[in-house]
Symmetry: C2
């Protein structure tokens, strides 16, 4: 069975399929929302869609150094979208700029992902300081799985903006 | 490196860690919500938390036959929570009953998951009718990854009920 001949590349394929599928859903949701719709709170008193887009972009951007794939493209996003909550009063890029940043970050990640071998996905990520031999699951693939969950969590919230004005 | 000696069991461990982590987050959110809070819509005009709990329970229940692990425990949930939307007017279990069903379904799944070998996770799931050799990624592990994304998507919505009355 082909599945058992190359289990590592099969699992890598499955994990990347999951990542790409999650990105596809999020982009479908985002593309269907106008900038005005995106400015709404996903539920009264909660984060705006614009904030969530900035947050997702900043978190995905941080995957580049975490996975040892390069420097952040937009380090300016960390302060307003990771270290601080929505309505912080900090200056923020426009929704149009965030949409462009979001696309550029994911394109950079996916370009690098295509170059990764299954063995590289099992290497430890750059934030692991403990004894990696004792915790081999704290690898780059695990970061990917974790970030997929983060993406789908917030995509479920962004989807609530559909139909708003 | 241990990681490369048993790649399949390592991948299985990572995927199950992702599943258990997603369940843990969802249960933390659900446990912190009263039945009254859960009855609220996650955003005006959208699904109630109670409906989402029923929906997640029904979808997880359907994983038992899909993964070849047994029959559904609560087939009665499919009609009100998968085939029909919220506010269908169909009779529904109470939030207390749904919470119990949710716990029972996930316990049944996790009991079965512990018995699965890495090789079994790569077997095709019961809904695959095409030539499996050409699509080895359409396996049970892929169903698990897909359901993790489904769970985190709706968990992000349920989390919006925190702080509601």
């Amino acid at each position: 069975m082909q599945a058992q001949q190359h289990p590592m590349s099969l699992f890598t394929t499955m994990a990347l399929n999951s990542w790409n599928g999650a990105l596809k859903v999020s982009n479908k949701v985002l593309d269907a929302l106008s900038d005005e719709q995106l400015a709404n709170e996903v539920s009264p008193g909660r984060n705006s869609g614009t904030y969530l887009l900035g947050h997702l972009t900043a978190v995905h951007d941080s995957m580049l150094p975490l996975l040892g794939l390069g420097e952040k493209l937009y380090p300016n996003l960390e302060e307003p979208f990771i270290r601080n909550p929505d309505k912080s009063g900090l200056p923020k890029p426009t929704a149009q700029e965030l949409r462009q940043n979001w696309a550029a970050v994911n394109e950079a990640l996916n370009t690098k992902f295509k170059e990764q071998t299954p063995e590289q996905w099992l290497e430890r990520h750059t934030a692991v300081t403990e004894d990696f031999a004792k915790e081999p699951h704290r690898n780059k693939m695990n970061v990917l799985l974790s970030r997929i969950n983060h993406l789908t969590y917030h995509t479920g919230q962004l989807a609530l903006l559909q139909g708003k004005k």
